[in-house]
Amino acid sequence: MISGRPVLEMHHIGQVFPGVVALDDVHFDLMQGEVHVLLGENGAGKSTLVKILSGANPRSSGQILLDGVEVRIETPRRAQELGIAIIYQELNLIPALTAAENIFLGREPRRRSGFIDQKRVVTDAQSLLDELHAGIDASRRVCELSVAQQQMVEVARALSLQARILIMDEPTSALTGQEIGELFALIRRLTQRGVSVIYISHRMEEIFEIGERVTVLRDGRHIETRPIAGTSREELVRLMVNRELKEHFPKVRVEPGAEALRVEKLSRRGVLEEISFTLRRGEVLGIAGLLGSGRTELARALFGADPVDGGRIFIKGKPVRIGSPRDAIHQGIGYLTEDRKGQGLVLNLAVRENICLASLARFSRLGWVSRTRESNAASGFVDKLRIRTPGLGQQVRYLSGGNQQKVVMSKWLCSESRILLFDEPTRGIDVGAKVEIYQLMNKLAADGAAILMISSELAEIIGMSDRVLVMCQGRIAGELPAAEATQQKILNLALGGN
C-alpha cells in the first residue's frame, strides 16, 4: 500500500572520510508502505547512506526530512526514537537470552517493586511475534533459533520500537529458498501496515520480486531512481557499472611460463565448492566476485589458514599438503590479507621487524637474530619498494596505508614467495601508491612470480589481470580472458547470471 507522500526525504547528502568522498550530493526518498531497493557495487555508498539514517555517521552533510519535517540524526538512539530501525547482516542479538528478552532489551516492563515483569515480557513479545506469523516461541533462547527466525526476532524488536522505516542490509544472504519466501511474506505484511522498507541486496531475482522502486548508487553518487516494473536486469547492471576507466593501469603483459599452482576441486562445506584453476608463472589471475562470494575464503584455504574438506593443490606440478600458514610459506606462498592492520602487520613492531617476520629463521642462528643481516635485508626492500619511512626502526603504525602495504609486500618478498595471493592489494591506498603497487606487480610477474589478485574494484581486475575468474556463492561462476573481460560481463557472472 503506497500512499502519495514520502515519509523520508534525503537531499544533497554528502559524507567525506579522510581522503575519500564516500557520498556526494545523493538524493533518496521513501514512500509510505514502499519497498525501495538500494543497489550498487561494493563501495558504491549504500552502507554509508543507511548508516547516516541510523545515526552511525553523524557528521554527514545535507538535509533529512521525516514527514516533511527536517530532523538531525546524531545518534543511533535518536534514529530509534524517530522510528528508524536497521537490521544488519550480522544480527545484533544476544544469543544466551530468550527471544522475548532480546525484543525488550533495555526497556523491560517493570513491576511496581522494580523487578522485571517476566510474564509481561513473554506475553508482549509473543503477541508481537504472532502478529508477524513468525511461529516462534518467545521464551526460547536466541541461540536455539535459525538465522531466519533470529531475523524475525529482530523485526519484532524493531516493531516494538514503533519503527516506521525498516532498513534491511542483505537480509537474505544466510537464508534458504523457503526462508526467503517467508521473509518476503513478512515484508509484504509490514508494508500493508504502512511500514516502509529500504532493501539492500545484490540478488537480482529478489529485487524484482520484492521491490517497487530502485535507486542505483555508483562511486558515492546518485545515478538513477526508477520503478522496478518495466526495467530490466541488464539495464540495472549497466547503471551500476557504467563508468569510464579513470585510473590508468600500467599493465605490462608477460608471456606466462610454467605452471606454478594448480587447484583441483578444492572444497569447504558451505564456503567453497569444487574450485579448480591453474596459475602460471608471470601471470596475474584476477579473482572477482561480490562480498561473501568466497574470494577471501579461497585465499585463506590456499594459505592453510582455514581447513578444507576436499580437493588437491599442486605446486610446480607436485601435489602438496598445506595444513597451516607455515606449510604454505615453505611452499613459497605469500598471502597479503585484505585486512592489513588486523592480519597483515604487527602495528607496534618496527618496519624492519615486520619485513623479516616471516623469514626470521633465515636471519638467525640458534635462535639468535643477526640484526645486521636483518637490517641489510629490510633496507634493501625499503629502497626497492620505495617505502617512505623515517627509518627501519619506525613502528609501522605511523606509516601511511600505501607504505604499510609495501611493508606487507616486502614481508612476502623477503620470505622468497613465488606464489603471491594478493587480497585487495590497493584497498584504502591513495592513487599514487596504487600505481606504485601495480608497477611492483608488473615487476614481480616479469621476474616469474605467479600472482592471484582478489579485488572488489572491477576496473582494477580488468586493468591488471591476464585472466579473470569470477566467483559466486563459493563457486567459480566463469572465467574470462583479459581481452574479453568487461565490467558488465563480470558483474553479470558475479550476480549469478550466465
Binding site: 594459505f303 600458514p325 607496534n348 621487524e353 617476520l357 626470521l360 614481508k411
Partner: protein, 315 residues
C-alpha cells in the same frame, strides 16, 4: 639529537626511573638512614625475588597473557627441592630438580593456553590452585627446614661485597633483555602480543612460542624459590602467596601494557625497585604493614593512570 632519540625509545622507562629517584629522594629526606649503602643492598636483596618472578611475568604480559600461578609454582618447586636436599641429594641436583619442576608447571600452563585454547587467566588460575595443593600434599602441609651452609650460601653469600641474590637478579635481567631484544623467541613474544593473527599468518609457530614463554615464567619462579628457600632456611608450602600480584604490579608500573605487544624488561626492574623502595622506606618510617598495603595499592593505580594519561597525550 642523540638524547632526543634516546628519550623517544626509552621515554617510558626514563619516566619510571625518574619516579624511583623522586621516591628515593623523598624517603631520604624523611629518614637519613635510607640512603646508606647497607640499606640499598638490603633493598636490592629483598627486591631480587619479586624482580626475578616479574621478569618472567613481563614475557607473559608482552605476549598478551597473564600468569597467576607463579607464587604457587614457587611454593611447589621449593618444597620439592627442599625434600630432595633433606633426602641427601647433592645441591646441584636439587637445584636442577627445582628448576625442572618450575619449568614443567609453566609448560603445562603454556600447553593449556596454546593447544587447549584456554584463556591465560583461567589456565593459570587453575594452575595456581593445583600447584599450591600439590605443594601442600607433597610437604604434608609442613615447612621443610634446615639446610647445609653450602646451600644457604646462595642467599647469604657475597661476591665483591654484593649479595649473591643481587648478582643473580642482575644476570637474569641481562639475559632476559638479550632474549627479548636479540632472539627469535623475544621477537615472536612481541609479535604474538601485538597481533597474534598476523604472526600466525606469517608462519610463526605461535603455539610453541607461547608455551616457551609460560615455561620461562615457571622456570624463573623456581629460581626465585631457590633464593627464598636459601634465605629463610626453610621451604614452605604456603610460600609465595600473592607474589603473582607483586610481579604483575612491577611489570605494569614498569610500563608493559596489559594489552600485550609492548614493554621493556628494564622497566619491570625499575618497577620492582619502586615497590621494594616503598616497602623499605615505609618500614624505616615505622608505618604499619596495614597502611603499607594501602599505599602500595594506591601507587599501582596512580602509576597506571599516569601512564594512560601520558599515552593519550602523545596520540
Amino acid at each position: 639529537m642523540r638524547v632526543k632519540s634516546l628519550f623517544l625509545q626509552h621515554g617510558r622507562q626514563l619516566t619510571t626511573l625518574f619516579v624511583l629517584i623522586l621516591l628515593s629522594a623523598a624517603l631520604w629526606a624523611l629518614s637519613p638512614h635510607f640512603m646508606s649503602l647497607s640499606n640499598w643492598l638490603n633493598i636490592a636483596q629483598q627486591t631480587a625475588i619479586n624482580a626475578i618472578i616479574a621478569a618472567g611475568m613481563t614475557f607473559v604480559i608482552i605476549s598478551a597473557g597473564i600468569d597467576l600461578s607463579v607464587g604457587s609454582i614457587l611454593a611447589l618447586s621449593g618444597v620439592v627441592m627442599a625434600s630432595a636436599l633433606q633426602a641427601g641429594a647433592p645441591v646441584p641436583l636439587a637445584l636442577l630438580l627445582c628448576l625442572v619442576v618450575g619449568a614443567l608447571c609453566g609448560s603445562a600452563n603454556g600447553l593449556l593456553i596454546a593447544r587447549g585454547k584456554l584463556p591465560p587467566f583461567i589456565a593459570t588460575l587453575g594452575m595456581m590452585s593445583v600447584a599450591r595443593g600439590a605443594a601442600l600434599i607433597f610437604s604434608d602441609g609442613r615447612p621443610v627446614s634446615g639446610f647445609a651452609p653450602g646451600f644457604r650460601a646462595i642467599a647469604n653469600g657475597e661476591f665483591l661485597a654484593i649479595p649473591l641474590p643481587v648478582w643473580i637478579m642482575a644476570a637474569v635481567y641481562l639475559i632476559a633483555h638479550l632474549v627479548l631484544s636479540r632472539t627469535r623467541l623475544g621477537r615472536y613474544t612481541y609479535a604474538i602480543g601485538g597481533n597474534e593473527e598476523a604472526t600466525l599468518l606469517s608462519g610463526v609457530n605461535v603455539k610453541l612460542h607461547k608455551t616457551l614463554v609460560y615455561s620461562l615464567a615457571g622456570l624463573l619462579s623456581a629460581l626465585a624459590a631457590i633464593l627464598l628457600t636459601a634465605r629463610l632456611n626453610s621451604a614452605q608450602p604456603i610460600a609465595g602467596m600473592n607474589y603473582e600480584l607483586d610481579a604483575i604490579a612491577a611489570t605494569v608500573i614498569g610500563g608493559t601494557s596489559l594489552l600485550g605487544g609492548e614493554g621493556q624488561i628494564f622497566g619491570t626492574l625499575i618497577g620492582a625497585f619502586i615497590m621494594g623502595v616503598l616497602r623499605n622506606g615505609l618500614n624505616l618510617l615505622g608505618v604499619s604493614s596495614f597502611v603499607q598495603q594501602t599505599v602500595i595499592g594506591a601507587v599501582i593505580i596512580v602509576a597506571v593512570l599516569l601512564d594512560m594519561m601520558m599515552k593519550k597525550r602523545r596520540s
